[in-house]
Amino acid sequence: MGDVLAIEGLGKRYPSGDGELTVLAEVTFSVAAGECVAVVGPSGSGKSTLLGLVAGLDTPSSGRVLVEGRDLALIGDRELSALRGRRMGFVFQSYRLLPALTAEENVRVPLDLAGVRGARSVARDLLAEVGLGARLGHLPAQLSGGEQQRVALARALAPAPALLFADEPTGNLDTATGDAMAELLFRLVRARGATCIYVTHEQRLAARAGRVIALRDGRVVEDRRAS
């Protein structure tokens, strides 16, 4: 299979006081379609920044990111947004559901933005698939943490993305709920043949990936595939 994602010499620096803080430096790797990659590392190692840059949520200070062969730096806001909305899905540690929208509406948003017909039934089917068929009209505040994360997963998978990014998807959940969430995530990703890149600091979760990339101080210190 070809590479769905290629990262070349990626770096990110933020202004800090009088100088600059290097969060990422010279990160290079590629990910093949259908691969499942865990990005691990201690706090502040640049994991979430890497995920954000790869997803085109911010611009790198150096290097480039190619998604399905397209350099994110060379495409405009419109195309980048379309790429995010149609080819990528996101799951965040703190769910990032739109608080004023019901579960169903939250799942519909990327479908609506992508101009998908029948968004409502797609959203309902997905929510049923993650076990929330009875909670369609609930607002995020009316759902438990696990339920919110399942809505976030349904939302991420709604546009049938080629790439799913997850940033500490179980980080805000208790062990049992986290395990169930991880199970659901891997099952649904596998079923859709999507590429999955997730950030975690939990060894158990990292161990389930086919490949683990370890970061330390913004640099890749290990890139290991499961045997």
């Binding site: 996101f90 990032r96 739109l98 101009g115």
Partner: protein, 878 residues
């Protein structure tokens, strides 16, 4: 070789996706806008209130004017007393009456009357009255309603009058009693309960007298200001304009210029007016008064805009995560812009509609407040045009006000927002573009609303400067507030006082927008107070010791010496008596006086001043209440024809020093050179004139004389007034104090209407304050919970809130009131050219106190959820 697939390419064929049409995208954005908005609760209501309050005032004025226009259309025929009217400053000549006979179609009915200002006397009192000597059948259209008797009694052989109720009170007489009018004693048959066409500007009550008695009364002398009128009713009223046109042609009058300013019936020697002319003249008069109402309502709208900008900024701040999430899910910058602009548009439309409906309802109240200053009765009603304008204004203001904060957020990096960074602002050019568009729109709208390139844009400029100064003052005062808080701590002042002041000093809850809006509302009210104080100072009796108490007009040449003797016998030897000659201005320099544009109020005033009948006079030396400000005072015995102009008059007619004025002095053309400009204190009520000319210019022209009787005790004044009326039946003697009361009463009615519209601005300011309080509610709840944990009682928290909001109100109002002294001075001295300026310190302090109290109550009410939340719940949420 084919390249990688593009998003557009891969979107359609293999999934359920389809390229979205504009309608679909718009629906999606609208849905997202609604989804995001509905979770904002009370803030949305306050946003709607900001827009609604801004719009309500304008719609109120718009509907009021529309209703007034309708009332005029309904009543103008009866106000004129017929379908058309011919009026002249002389008895109609045989030729003129023959022309009328030729021009009028068959079946047209006609009736004549003479109107003049004269004196009525009884019980040793004399008062000026607005007299109409009418023929039987008057009025042809509409009806005079009397309390007793009938109009036919006026046509009897014995003199009889119907009088306005005010005259009965002024002369202390009752129906059945007799009053003296010139040489006759007329019996009062009844009081006039209703009569169409009575002007609220008339300087005396109406008296109706039989036409046949006029000559016997001896009041229609050559100098009397009288008009001879002929009312006409046609068989087909719709033919009025065509008949009027034929009549003008037959009388060799110029055709009516549609663009010409209607100067009213007294403008020319001979005029033909239709009911439509009356309508346009009165509509124009009230429209000039409405300029101020519209300007004040525009200020309310701008304050609403400040509220929208401030609240939208808060809303966006609250929705930063949602915005970032939207971007993560595929939303573009344009999506974010569109969604939030649609939110603003929706709020603008709904708020505009609510405000428009409120304005429609409140119009009846405005009509009631202005009732005494209007010649017609306004019926309540709905005006779709004003409502549509209100909705459009609401939408425009909301979108424009929201555009700045939205433009600032749209380009922000989603990742930065998700990491908790607050975007610092967008690119400069969109912000500049929006700011410039807003400023131009405000100035343009203000010019349009006031029909003036001076008043409207000037007011907006003053407002913008004031907003900057108030906002800057608010920021600068933070440090002193913190220092005051620390000083109070040293003085062991109550905790609530220190905490409230420190909260405001820290500026944590973004008080600048509320401070600015409240300050501007206070500036508006303060300016109105300063204007009122200046007006009272201008006419204030204590400051006018030795000032004229009676003003005598229409003295004839042969009456001047006799009048001097009479007044000297009353102990008044030094009476100022000036000649007065009627004239018309034909040209200023090479410019024809009758021409010139009238697109703005300034041009309109210039044209009016050039076109009106001019009162010319001469004098050997300058009066005590005037002085030359440019040029040199004329040589009274010189051979050159010179003119001295009052400086503001000169500016309005566009005359400069050295320029020639061509005057038509009762048929004789005279050319005089402007050699000096004078500044005149008009409120001295001495005979003063816009144009003074060399005596030579008026040699041989028929003149009347104007006398100013100096300060008199009330009893002596009454006696002199009665003596003059008895001795000279043709003269009119005005009591200056009564004139002043009349003017002040009219001005007060107008000012009340303006203050009523200004209330919308204050309410909009309070809405901004409420928005600020709501935006800070979460932080305040956390503060209050912590204070409760630390032992503070609810009363302490309430007191701290009261202190904070009262201090905010007091600072804003104090800054606004301080600036009002400057804006008031500009209005009083610069715009109105009044000679007196006074700062009503006590009233301004009262304004500050009232605004502070209103802010304290509004702020605490808006923060009531802070007081009701349980500390544990709040701390858990935190």
């Amino acid at each position: 070789m084919s390249g990688p697939p593009t998003v557009a390419e891969d979107a359609a064929p293999d999934g359920p996706r389809a390229p979205a049409g504009r309608g679909v995208v718009l629906r999606l954005y609208a849905r997202l806008a609604w989804w995001l908005l509905r979770g904002q609760g009370a803030k949305v209501w306050i946003l709607l209130a900001c827009v609604a309050l801004g719009v309500a005032g304008r719609v109120c004025v718009g509907t009021f004017m529309a209703r007034f226009g309708e009332a005029l259309a309904r009543e103008s025929r009866s106000m004129l007393g017929g379908d058309l009217e011919l009026s002249a400053n002389h008895p109609f000549t045989v030729e003129e009456l023959a022309a009328v006979d030729t021009a009028l179609p068959a079946g047209a009915r006609r009736v004549r009357y003479v109107s003049l200002v004269t004196m009525a006397a009884a019980n040793g009192r004399a008062r000026p009255v607005d007299l109409r000597a009418v023929e039987p059948g008057y009025p042809l259209a509409g009806a005079v309603v009397l309390s007793a008797g009938s109009m036919t009694e006026l046509d009897g052989p014995a003199p009889a009058v119907a009088v306005g109720a005010d005259l009965l009170r002024q002369l202390e007489v009752a129906p059945g009693a007799h009053i003296a009018i010139g040489h006759i004693e007329a019996r009062i048959v009844g009081t006039i309960l209703a009569e169409p066409g009575v002007s609220p500007l008339a300087f005396g009550p109406r008296v109706l007298l039989g036409r046949a008695q006029l000559d016997a009364a001896g009041i229609a002398g050559s100098g009397s200001r009288l008009r001879h009128a002929l009312q006409v009713v046609l068989v087909d009223p719709t033919a009025a304009e065509a008949v009027a046109s034929a009549l003008r042609q037959a009388l060799k009058l110029p055709a009516r210029d549609k663009n010409a300013l209607d100067l009213g019936p007294n403008a020319a020697a001979l005029t033909v007016r239709t009911s439509r002319d009356v309508q346009s003249q009165l509509a124009g008069m009230i429209d000039r008064f409405a300029d101020f109402l519209r300007l004040v309502s525009l200020i309310a709208l701008l304050l609403g805009g400040i509220g929208v900008a401030s609240l939208v900024r808060g809303l966006i701040h609250d929705q930063l995560e949602s915005i970032a999430t939207l971007r993560v899910l595929g939303g573009t910058r344009a999506t974010v812009l569109a969604v939030f602009l649609l939110q603003a548009l929706g709020i603008g439309v709904v708020g505009g509609l609510v405000g428009a409906l409120a304005g429609e309802g409140l119009q009846a109240l405005l009509a009631m407040l202005a009732a005494g200053a209007l010649p017609v009765t306004i019926a309540p009603g709905f005006d779709p045009g004003a409502t549509a304008l209100g909705v459009a204004l609401g939408a425009a203001v909301a979108v424009l006000a929201a555009a700045l904060p939205i433009a600032a957020i749209a380009p922000a990096s989603p990742l930065a927002i998700l990491r908790g960074a607050v975007p610092a602002g967008g690119a400069r050019w969109p912000v500049l573009l929006i700011g410039l568009t807003g400023a131009l729109a405000c100035a343009g709208l203000a010019a349009y609303e006031t029909h003036s390139l001076v008043l409207g844009p000037g007011a907006i400029l003053v407002l913008a400067l004031a907003a900057g100064l108030i906002a800057g003052g608010g920021v600068l005062l933070r440090r002193p507030l913190l220092i005051a808080g620390r000083a109070l701590e040293a003085l062991r002042a109550p905790f609530a006082l220190r905490h409230g002041l420190a909260n405001l000093g820290r500026g944590t809850h973004r008080p600048v927008a509320a401070l600015t809006a409240i300050g501007l509302a206070a500036l508006l009210f303060g300016t109105l107070l300063v204007y009122r104080a200046a007006l009272l100072a201008e006419f204030d009796p204590p400051s006018r010791a030795g000032i004229t108490s009676l003003f005598v007009i229409d003295l004839q040449d042969d009456q001047v010496d006799e009048a001097r003797s009479l007044l000297a016998a009353r102990g008044l030897p030094a009476v100022d008596i000036s000649p007065l000659v009627k004239a018309r201005l034909r040209a200023v320099g090479t410019e024809d006086a009758a021409r010139g544009p009238a697109r703005t109020r300034e041009e309109e005033r210039g044209r009016f001043m050039r076109g009106r009948e001019q009162n010319l006079s001469w004098r050997a030396t300058l009066g005590e209440d005037e002085h030359v400000v440019a040029g040199t005072w004329m040589e009274p015995v010189g051979t050159q024809l010179e003119a001295s102009l009052e400086e503001r008059f000169a500016k309005r007619i566009g005359a400069r020093l050295g320029e020639k004025l061509r005057l038509d002095v009762q048929g004789v053309e005279v050319e005089a050179t402007v050699t000096s400009l004078r500044r005149v204190s008009w409120t001295s009520f001495r005979p003063n004139f816009f144009i003074l000319v060399s005596p030579l210019a008026l040699a041989g022209a028929p003149a009347t004389w104007v006398a100013a009787v100096p300060d008199l005790e009330p009893a002596a004044k009454q006696a002199v007034q009665a003596d003059l009326t008895r001795a000279f039946p043709n003269v009119t003697v005005f009591d200056v104090q009564q004139m002043v009361h009349h003017i002040l009463d009219l001005v007060e009615r107008i000012a009340t209407a303006v203050r009523f519209i200004a209330l919308f601005a204050l309410a909009a300011g309070l809405a901004v304050l409420t928005g600020m309080a709501l935006a800070s509610a979460r932080a305040r709840r956390a503060d209050a919970a912590l204070l409760a944990v630390l032992g503070a009682r609810r009363g302490t928290v309430v007191a701290a809130l009261l202190v904070e909001f009262a201090a905010l109100g007091a600072i804003a109002a104090a800054l606004g009131a301080a600036l009002a002294t400057g804006s008031g001075w500009l209005l009083v001295s610069g715009f109105f050219g009044m000679g007196h300026f006074a700062v009503p310190w006590l009233q301004l302090v009262g304004l500050v106190a009232v605004v502070a109290a209103l802010c304290a109550v509004t702020g605490v009410l808006a923060c009531r959820q802070v007081l009701t939340a349980k500390p544990l719940t709040v701390l858990r949420e935190a």
